[in-house]
């Protein structure tokens, strides 16, 4: 990519020495919003708020002029000029030189005295020992649409001994490769950016969070959004915890929706002597407890709206609560990064790759993305952690006359029906050659996978164990060996991937089934092919569901086990059960279950997701879900099986009048044979995924070992940080080319970007418009109409229950309609009680569709923003044939 060097004006090199050193440090309360050039955006805003009586912790600002003077004293002219003309691959090296100079030199004595003096006064005014937060406040932070969030340093628990060093590190963060690249990408002149540093008393918060006076994703102005968690707010900002979330009506501050999350970690407000890590586990009793009382929710909202009122535009507010008192830590305009901004700089036409996205809508973390695209299949591209299909590349090789838009539509919908495009004669010769080569390469595979017994892939587990035990194999090597190119002699080898490829034959078998049924029994029920193609034996994810049900049955045998599972948090329940003599049979069965299924996880394609054998809490959560319902899976399975038997009888009746059918029954046999093929390939597709995930489990184990070693050496500080690095960066940490200080900023920046992307979800297409049928909600005959894709036939009307996390929101009353952002095997128990399902992502082949068809319930997938448009308690009508969902008006509204 050609990048235009952004000028580093001479003024930056010469330094803005006009700001005298004696005014290089100012108390916060002397600043106003107009002092951005002196105190940076953050410092000026906090000063303004403090001056107007807002509850801002006291502090002072090391002004931007001091930074300019210090930079001048370093005589970095040559280095800055070198950066100006550096090619992209040398920027990091140039930044490293500048940064080490900025952070390594002592501050001028006069400036150092001014800072320590202000710090001493701050302590004297408080009348007790305090630690401070040292926060960057760049003067360009509010430049237009540019958001520097996460790129500049912030340090907590800073005492007098560390103060000057941390100030220098804040200034150094202005010259991190990420910050410099960001400025270049956004055309921000390096000279226009200077940095003040805010030093404030650190609030030892028991609860902290962020609030938005408008929805930062949708832009809705009638909502106030509050996110809160235990301890300090850094855990939320860095994405280490999923916070509690409250959406309030702006007018009367009534809570519209709230979600209490499982808050596993907290950033402690106090750091004990000798402690290196500030992340701590939240006590069990508090994890699922609301972090804010209703009164405090109102307080937070009120102060946030006061900030908006004061600054005149929607605000993003950071706050903390200490000893029941509310403190404002930051208020800045909301920088909205819309979904339409994702991939704006990407050339080409892309449509989201649904087979992966249907399992979760969050983007992959950088390390998972790096590994998953280690060898990028042609026609696929990763954009911000989401995999996209390259529409133009695919169209070029398809032998059809089809526009990019029509192809994108078909690829997106993952329809089981062929759209009937015309064949392009000019492409045929090349295509025939390609097809012939494809046949030569895959012919043996297609034969091998025609009738593979269920247990054949089972030996893949042995290969996984072998690769896992080999320390010489890196995660990337393991990926290649397990899923792409096995060695000669590896049991089964990469069969899961090959079987997955081969099982796509189900589509042509399904098409044949449909043709046969419609030719010989045209007026048979519309969902006949779907019913005939369901009900396979030996589907491993279904076996897993039955295994969990069996565990629930076992738990029900002992009242004590049952009560422990129902009343305790999963972690505590497990600990209690292990210590309980009555529960040993249950524990033994749980272990046996995990020995088979322990590699699975919620959001299992993401390597960051803990596997069940690491933490069986999700399994215990599912068992608890089963304990709460009355019906059992076999009833649903029997219902679906009965429907199949009845359908076959009906089919037989309709075929009998045809010539020779009564005597030979050939047509029926042919239809049943084709249906059996559909079932077989669908089963193989599902089962191959079971083993893919097993391979990913091995990669995760290897990554965790590396992480553990890097943490032991002090090269990484927090668990999970490794997933926000790329493979070469991990290797750099391992071999000493990189140190913690060099990756710290990258990790923080990527975490923050990751959170933003998670909240937005992936755009369905980039560089191309999809047809209007995927548009958001419209009004239709008094009801709000949401359009999606049909995944399981039937129609149903009932009350909606919006569930965002199956391990937390477990209450689904019989007959309610499950509304979910995505589903995977962890959601299966909820399907037992649901009357229908509506899911935000997915396709006909997705987990939700497959399970719903097995249970014979209507299901609509790919309903954009369903969990936001539909509220718990809404009466909705689900049409699984048309793929539509109607939110019916309340009687009062009507």
């Amino acid at each position: 990519m050609q990048r235009t060097p952004v000028g580093i004006a001479d003024s930056a090199i010469a330094g803005a020495t006009a700001e005298p050193m004696k005014s290089s440090v100012l108390d916060l309360d002397r600043l106003t919003a107009a002092d951005t050039a002196i105190a940076g955006g953050k410092g000026a805003n906090l000063g303004e708020l403090l001056g107007k009586g807002f509850p801002v912790p006291p502090g002072f600002v090391v002004c931007a002029g001091a930074y300019a003077g210090y930079l001048d004293s370093l005589e970095l002219g040559a280095e800055l000029l070198q950066l100006r003309y550096a090619p992209p691959d040398e920027i990091a090296q140039c930044c490293s030189v500048i940064r080490s100079r900025v952070e390594g030199r002592d501050l001028p004595a006069e400036l150092a005295e001014a800072i320590t003096g202000a710090h001493t006064r701050l302590i004297e005014n408080r009348g007790r020992a305090i630690v401070c937060a040292v926060r960057s406040s760049a003067t360009a932070e509010d430049l237009g649409a540019a958001s520097f969030a996460g790129q500049h340093g912030t340090y907590y628990y800073v005492d007098a001994a560390q103060l000057l060093k941390k100030v220098r590190q804040c200034w150094g963060s202005l010259w991190s490769p990420e910050a410099v690249s960001y400025r270049i990408t956004h055309g921000i002149d390096h000279a226009s950016v200077s940095m003040a540093v805010v030093v404030q008393e650190m609030i030892a918060s028991e609860v902290a969070g962020v609030s938005f006076t408008a929805n930062p994703v949708t832009g809705a102005r009638d909502e106030v959004i509050i996110e809160s968690s235990w301890g300090m707010g850094a855990a939320i900002v860095d994405g280490r915890v999923t916070p509690d979330r409250y959406v309030l009506e702006r007018g009367d501050l009534r809570v519209r929706t709230q979600r209490v999350s499982d808050k596993k970690l907290m950033v402690k407000a106090h750091l004990e002597a000798g402690e290196a890590t500030r992340l701590d586990e939240v006590p069990n009793a508090m994890r699922r407890q609301q972090s804010l009382s209703p009164a405090m929710v109102r307080t937070v909202a009120q102060w946030s709206l006061k900030c908006e009122s004061h600054f005149g535009k929607p605000q993003d507010v950071e706050w903390a609560v200490c000893d029941g008192n509310f403190y404002l830590l930051q208020s800045r305009p909301i920088t909205v990064m819309g979904r339409e901004d994702i991939g704006r700089d990407v050339k080409g036409k892309y449509v989201v790759f649904k087979p992966l996205i249907e399992n979760f809508s969050d983007p992959l973390t950088p390390l998972a993305e790096d590994l998953m695209t280690l060898i990028r299949p042609p026609g696929l591209r990763s954009i911000h952690g989401w995999l996209y299909l390259d529409v133009e590349a695919i169209r070029r090789v398809l032998p059809f006359k089809v526009s990019d838009e029509a192809l994108a539509d078909h690829l997106y919908s993952v329809s089981k029906d062929f759209p009937g495009w015309k064949i392009s004669i000019s492409k045929l010769p090349a295509l025939l050659v390609m097809g012939f080569v494809f046949f030569l390469v895959y012919a043996v595979l297609l034969l091998r996978t025609r009738s593979l017994p269920d247990g054949a892939l089972g030996t893949f587990r042995a290969l996984c164990n072998k690769v896992d035990a080999d320390p010489s194999l890196s995660p990337a090597d393991a990926l290649v060996r397990l899923l792409l190119l096995p060695r000669l002699g590896d049991p089964v080898g990469n069969m899961p991937l090959l079987v997955n490829l081969a099982s796509f034959r189900f589509m042509s078998w399904m098409r044949m089934l449909k043709r046969l049924v419609r030719r010989w029994a045209p007026d048979l029920r519309a969902d006949a092919e779907t019913i005939l193609g369901s009900g396979s034996e030996g589907v491993l994810s279904a076996e897993m569901g039955r295994g969990i049900w069996a565990l629930a049955v076992e738990a029900n045998r002992s009242e004590r086990v049952r009560q422990t599972l129902l009343t305790q948090s999963p972690e505590r329940a497990l600990a209690e059960l292990k210590a309980n003599a009555d529960a040993q049979e249950f524990v033994r069965r749980l272990d046996a279950f995990l020995a088979i299924n322990g590699h699975r996880a919620i959001k299992e394609f993401e390597l960051r997701s803990p596997r069940w054998d690491e933490n069986p809490a999700a399994v215990l959560g599912m068992i608890r879900n089963y304990l709460l319902i009355d019906s059992e899976p076999s009833i649903h399975e029997k219902k679906a099986a009965d429907a199949r038997v009845q359908l076959i009888r009906e089919l037989q009746t309709r075929l009998e009048p045809l010539p020779l059918e009564r005597a030979l029954g050939l047509r029926l046999r042919l239809i049943l044979l084709v249906a059996e093929r559909v079932r077989y390939f669908l089963k193989m597709r599902e089962n191959s995924r079971f083993y893919h995930i097993m391979g990913f489990g091995v990669l995760r184990k290897k990554i965790l070992r590396i992480e553990s070693e890097l943490m032991r050496q002090g090269k990484l500080k927090c668990k999970d940080d490794i997933f926000f690095l790329q493979m070469d960066e991990v290797a750099g940490l391992q071999d000493g080319r990189l140190a913690w200080l060099e990756v710290e900023d990258r990790i923080r920046e990527r975490r923050i970007l990751h959170i933003r992307l998670c909240k937005m979800g992936p755009p369905k297409a980039i560089g191309i418009e999809l047809p209007e049928k995927y548009a958001p909600a419209t009004q239709h005959e008094g009801a709000t109409l949401l359009q999606g894709q049909p995944a399981s036939p039937g129609a149903y009307e009932g009350r909606a229950r919006v569930i965002l996390d199956p391990s937390i929101d477990i209450e689904l009353r019989p007959g309610e309609v499950l509304v979910a952002p995505y589903t995977d095997p962890a959601w299966t128990p909820l399907f037992l009680t649901a009357g229908a399902a509506v899911v935000e992502v997915g396709s006909y082949l997705s987990h939700a569709g497959t399970v719903a068809r097995e249970f014979g319930m209507p299901c609509v997938v790919d309903v954009a923003e369903a969990t936001q448009s539909i509220r718990t308690g809404d009466r909705i009508a689900v049409d699984g044939n048309l793929g539509s969902v109607r939110i019916l008006p309340h009687p009062a509204d009507a």
Partner: protein, 99 residues
């Protein structure tokens, strides 16, 4: 007609080669339960080997030669696939093989 029939014999040789290789793979694919699967595995190998031998016996020169060429060329092609794919994959990841 002869060239066309020779081509057909070549294609038949390649097809039976594919069948034969797939039947031999059965031993590896079903190794996990080879005792139970033995009749199936051996049966397939025997059937396809017999078909190959029968074809050879029935075909006359020059069709027999064409058949053998088809059989052998596909076998060589198949055996070269694994190292070839290894080379391709290796070149695709060579610049990133640092993890």
């Amino acid at each position: 007609m002869t060239p066309l029939l020779q081509l057909a014999a070549f294609a038949l040789g390649a097809c039976l080669s594919i069948r034969m290789i797939a039947a031999l793979h059965g031993a590896v694919d079903l190794w996990y339960d080879i005792k139970a699967m033995c009749p199936r595995v051996i049966g397939q190998i025997v059937v396809w080997e017999a078909t190959v031998l029968a074809s050879l016996w029935l075909l006359e020169f020059p069709y027999q030669t064409a058949f053998l060429w088809g059989f052998g060329i596909y076998l060589l092609f198949y055996l070269s696939l694994l190292p070839l794919i290894g080379l391709v994959l290796g070149s695709m990841r060579s610049d990133r093989q640092t993890g």
